[in-house]
Amino acid sequence: MTIKYLDKYPKNLAKSLWVLKPQWTVLKLFAKTVVHRPVTVLYPYEKEWVPENYRGRPGLIFDKCVGCGMCARMCPTACIKLVDAEDDNGKTVKRPQVNLGRCAMCGYCAEYCPVDAMTVTPEYELAEFTRFDLIYGPRRLNYEGTTEGMKVKLEVTLPSDIENGNPERRVSLFDLDRPELIDSKCIGCKKCAKVCPVNAIEMVEKGVNEKTGKPILRPVIDNGKCICCSNCVDDCPKDALEIKEVL
């Protein structure tokens, strides 16, 4: 009867002893976990290693920030808002404030920051008792010990670059785009020069208005200084500026 029962299984003895294989596997695992340690990390007491560019809460280097508002513009959850803050000289400047209750920790703000003032930080224990406590002001966003890896760089390669035999990565997206003036629309109101956070726009006289006798002013953009924050494009009352790709 035993033979009849065993006939159901393959004749190969090694296959008939399939019972032994999982036991050998378990014994190996047991030996491994006794000598080393199990995979479990006892979280509150010991923490896992985090990489340098770990996307925890956003951080801010206050003095480096130019207040261009690129982070607020790029934020997918709209948790960043530009608020007035006092810098070290007592001057009122615009700086980002992050509502961590809405922050998705995507790190876009750090990627898109043109001056690398916005960073990611390895801080992920952010529980607070009230929702108000979750709003991080510009000074509170500061993180001690910012390293180079935390300033996430946006590195892109364009398909056109590869086609032209230049597959090197462009370090910054802001080398690609520049604001360009449509001369016929401009009324010379100087608003772009006022909103530019890095003073890259200079109003230059281009002749005299025949009717009124006043000088005709046109913005000239310093490509070396421009960070392509598109504040000037947004604020232009006549839509005379637009972002164009520089290739």
Binding site: Q23, T25, V26, V39, T40
Partner: protein
Amino acid sequence: MSVVVEYTSILDFIGFNSYSLMDNQYYPFLDEYNLPYAISYGLWKIIGGTIAWLINLIFPGNPVSEWLMGDGASTLFALIIFMLIIFIVVFVCTLISLWMERKCLGRMMDRRGTMIGMKGFLQCVADGLKTFMKENTIPGKVDRMTYMWTVSLVIGVSVLVACMIPLSGRWFVVNYDTGLLIVMAFFALAPFFILVSGWAQNNKYSLVGGMRAAQLMISYEVPMLIMIATTALLAGSFNIGDIVYAQNDNVWYFIPQIVGFITFFFCATAESERLPFDIAEAEAELVEGWQTEYAGMKWGLIMLADYFRGYVACAMVTIMYLGGWTLPIIGDGPIPEIVFLLKTWFVFFLMILVRAALARVRPDQILNIGWKVFMPLSVVNLAIVLLLKVGGVF
């Protein structure tokens, strides 16, 4: 009367009869030395001597002090302490095997296991306290008398059989000539109560669990008994001590009886209702099997009784196949109890290994394996032993 007055110091009372414990006219173990009884006798000498001294201090020359120091009273109280010692040792061993199961199973699953105090050992204590503090719920429609009696008997029989396992030639309760048979008989008694309990609970899950326990018992008892008879045949005795020393004289019986060793190991695993044969208490399909209606302290004690039975199964494997408390060259050695417990825990570790590695078995598969594989294998084992015996090897 005047005898007691002669004692003045407490030390006179503690060492009241200076002759050895074997000379006591009521010594319960005939002519054999018993270590736990010796310990308890010494303990009672200290405790009872102090009490007698205190009473004598207040009422000099009273008959109670004299009675406390007499042969009969000291044997009686020493036996009570003896029972406590035997039970506490078995209890602690079972708790250690429980701790071992949790910790080893954790490591085999690549996790940590219990971690509360003393590398997780105190988790058992915490669990016990927790179950003792739970409400004692009894469902309305159960047959109350049977319900309570069967659970007491399941637990009681399990504790009894665990206490009856001798740890060495000097650590035993009763030295029967049919020791192995009696251990086996008590070991097989619990599934019967499980069946009755499953009926009494008036619950379909419990009834199915109880039925499964009965079917498991019926199909695995037979090969186990055949293999016990085989071992007794090889050793020439049912006495546990004789079997162990017969193995010490020749070889450990797992060498001639390798088939029987493997078969008995799995049968014992099934008989103590451990995974992968836990169809009676099937957490996966029946809620908690036959324990469904038991709450709080009763459930905790049932769980403990399960581990008592697991400990007994491992101890039987150790006694029958692994040479009991003896070691190959040393023989008895200075601490045979520790050797026996270490071997028992090794067998328990193998059980944990099987539990971690194999998937649970269906009830019909269990019956198939029991009747069509283990039963013929045990007969084959018997035939091998008969050949060896007739051929004059043993």
